[in-house]
Symmetry: C2
Subunit: 175 residues, 2 copies
């Protein structure tokens, strides 16, 4: 399965695409950081982010989208922008008709490093190793997005297939 992971941010939004199956090493497809200019007005920034994510979803045709869940405990100064960016990211996947799963930072850390308390350096090192990259992805936003995608292949991919099967078995909901 191919998964597009998004580490949401208004100024820098990491996007990572990987392919793989649960329990096996994933393969890197591509990674990006979408930038928007803090000097620009919010509508322009959200529009640029929406178009960029929509284009990347169309280009890479993932089977699913994984987005980091945002908490209000984060940096108060930037959390509103991050929350808005995460809404745009979830919407971009949903508009393409894809399953979208959100993960907490600890879930991603635990999936990729075995510890929910792993630091940024450890995460970047594991992503580099797991994808057998010659060097760490730069900047770090891209590494986080790749970790989200790996996490979904290993955890959520299975979970959402089970959920979909359960839904079909129940007769499904069409709304």
């Amino acid at each position: 399965m191919r998964v597009l992971g998004v580490d949401p941010g208004l100024t820098r939004c990491g996007v990572g695409v990987v392919e793989g199956v649960p329990g096996r090493p994933c393969t890197l497809v591509a990674y990006y950081v979408v930038h928007t200019d803090p000097e620009d007005e919010l509508p322009l920034r959200l529009l640029h982010l929406d178009r960029s994510l929509t284009d990347l979803v169309a280009e890479h045709r993932p089977d699913a989208v994984a987005v980091e869940r945002v908490f209000s405990q984060h940096n108060v100064r930037t959390v509103m922008g991050t929350a808005q960016a995460s809404g745009i990211a979830v919407l971009a996947g949903a508009r393409a008709g894809l399953p979208v799963q959100t993960y907490t930072p600890s879930e991603v850390k635990a999936a990729v490093t075995g510890s929910g308390q792993a630091d940024k350096a450890q995460m970047t090192m594991m992503v580099t190793r797991l994808l057998r990259l010659p060097e760490p992805p730069r900047p770090a936003d891209a590494a986080d997005a790749l970790a989200l995608a790996i996490c979904h292949v290993w955890r959520g991919g299975t979970r959402s297939k089970l959920a979909a099967a359960a839904e079909r078995a129940r007769g499904g909901r069409t709304r």
Copy 2:
């Protein structure tokens, strides 16, 4: 000018459309509350909100969109959903090529009641009176959205025209 105001919320999102010019009473065009089911998954909810707002913008063809600015000081339990909903609302206006302005709750209160500390009952009463409605709009989310639209007609409408003129005079930015 016709303004579509949005009081963003994930479970209930108020939308109000008014027409008017600065300093004169506005006229009610329509109001709505878009509901999404808290039992549904986030992607479905954001998709429903996006489609509803996009349809309302297409139906009413406003000259501008006004959205309440969300602060992290709000109710921590719901603030992330509200921030995501506000991002979707700003995006819906921007995608339609419309100017989108955000206002703080105090700015709206001050514009409509003369006091930035007005309570909900006072706001609803003033919206009812200003739009010469036979009874208060229900539910209150709709009244807040109408207040935002009135605020923009009276304040932001002028401001964004001035801003646009200043921009043209400077040679404009095309990004």
